[in-house]
Subunit: 304 residues, 2 copies
């Protein structure tokens, strides 16, 4: 009997693709399943490869500012590179456009991408322009990272603290999902001064992405409700489950906490929100404001 | 007054993007405007970056065999890498899928991609899966080429012969646009034994793509109607203007013609179809079957 994608689910599909898909292991450190692929490059660097597709009506509306639609499209991929400790270098932009679309709208999209590209030294080296019935933007971004600086999601250690780089929740309501500046500066600071044990960017939601880290690291994660920074008017539920905050979520040895707290004065902010504990790999729970351990829901941003 | 994309035109849009878009020249040999970007890599190699977006209803129909939809999506990008004299290495696949789509259909798409990936040693290292109202597949492909083997479209020489690797026309009717095997083997043969002066793959149509070569090389191109190989039932008009043949179109010094003709016996076929002559850069004309010089139309595959 035919089964639809929404019945089958997104993560089972990704698992299937991961198993099914051809993969030589030589030269490939991370493949399908991570946000960014890590492949061999030069003697002291890895090449990072990541891609994000944004579709009108799903990730943005046509009524939104075209400048920020372009900005967001590129920012999502830069955020993926930041999460690996890397720097972005080259972008390819594929764009599907309705024939009747106003040219000025398209130019604005590229202005938004160009401004962000300049900010981080990204070179837009090519792309593909095709006809579509909706606006579709696909960014593929190539970056690099020094081998010694690579941070993966699978290497959190027992007893590590969990941190985020900013307030969470309501990014769709407050516009943060469109205007965010990817956390390259924070990532570069961390690489240089802290050496995080694991890192990911929050795209699916705090709990969903923390679960990815916990599962890959075979540990349990425990959040501390009172410490989770929230955007204005965000409830704890918003902070836990909303998607597209694009803050970095990372783990670091407890003894680095003092140094991380001192970094707050440098225009960069780190918030300790929990710790990695022994338990079933991939489990996440939370100490609530009364000091009681609470389960958290499995939900995160659902793609299908 | 607002102007729609179809009024503005695809190539003016690409020209605008080329001028507008941020581009550091260091490290970038070819950027926007070519099918494949060429950037610095190792001491003796360049990195090749290319991307292609396929949209249901534009590049394929849902009634077509899903296996070949996947095959085509990857084959288009491999063909771009072949045209530079390179070898493909890593692919990222972004896919937009309607929630109600049969999972078996999606799996078939990936089977088609995987089989082709295996054939050419391509490693599918990641991607993005999102919800869409149509099926959208974006492939971005990273390849490499030895510096000495790189072939560009801009370096055809006066007096060079023009060749194609196979019969042209009617690829939409005969299914060739879905089932073609990208001409990696032909390209590797050429790199090793011939060293073509310029090369491109025929995606927009013979005349349109030959015009790209002629314009970039600042020469005129003259086709010889009687020599242009056509697929079964294809008229000369089909061969000249149909899109998506995905044969290689290349130029080579006339003294290499004998060697190219001998190569016909090796399971690879090259067809001499014209020559590069003095004249206005980008002009294309044709000697018809009566020996008269005829103009050819400007038309090619129109994206908007």
């Amino acid at each position: 009997m035919p089964q639809t994608l929404s019945q089958f689910g997104e993560f089972p599909l990704i698992d299937f693709l991961k198993k099914q898909t051809f993969r030589k292991n030589k030269d490939v450190l991370e493949g399908i399943g991570d946000d960014t692929a890590v492949v061999s490059y030069t003697n002291d660097k890895y090449l990072l490869l990541t891609t994000d597709m944004l579709i009108e009506g799903v990730h943005f509306k046509k009524s939104m500012d075209a400048f920020y639609i372009g900005h967001k499209a590129l920012a999502c991929s830069i955020s993926d590179i930041a999460a690996m400790g890397g720097m972005p270098k080259y972008a390819l932009i594929s764009i599907g456009l309705p024939a009747g679309l106003d040219v000025a709208f398209v130019k604005k999209i590229y202005e938004g991408m160009n401004q962000l590209a300049k900010m981080f030294g990204v070179n837009i080296v090519g792309g593909d322009t095709v006809k579509g019935n909706k606006i579709i933007i696909n960014v593929s971004l190539t970056g690099e990272v020094k081998k010694k600086n690579l941070v993966r999601r699978s290497t959190a250690k027992l007893g590590d603290n969990i941190y985020v780089t900013g307030a969470l929740g309501r990014s769709y309501i407050n516009g943060g999902h469109l205007t965010f500046i990817p956390r390259i500066n924070d990532s570069q600071y961390l690489i240089k001064h802290i050496k995080p044990t694991a890192m990911i960017d929050i795209s699916d939601g705090l709990v969903a992405d923390l679960r990815h880290v916990a599962k890959a690291s075979r540990l349990k994660a425990r959040l501390d409700q009172s410490r989770i920074p929230r955007t204005k008017n965000a409830t704890i539920s918003h902070a836990l489950y909303d998607g597209e905050d694009f803050e970095l979520l990372f783990t670091a040895s407890a003894y680095k906490d003092e140094k991380l707290m001192r970094a707050q004065t440098r225009g960069i902010a780190f918030f300790k929100i929990g710790e990695m504990i022994a338990g079933r790999g991939g489990e996440v729970d939370m100490i609530d404001t009364n000091g009681k351990i609470k389960k958290v829901l499995k939900k995160g941003y659902i793609h299908f």
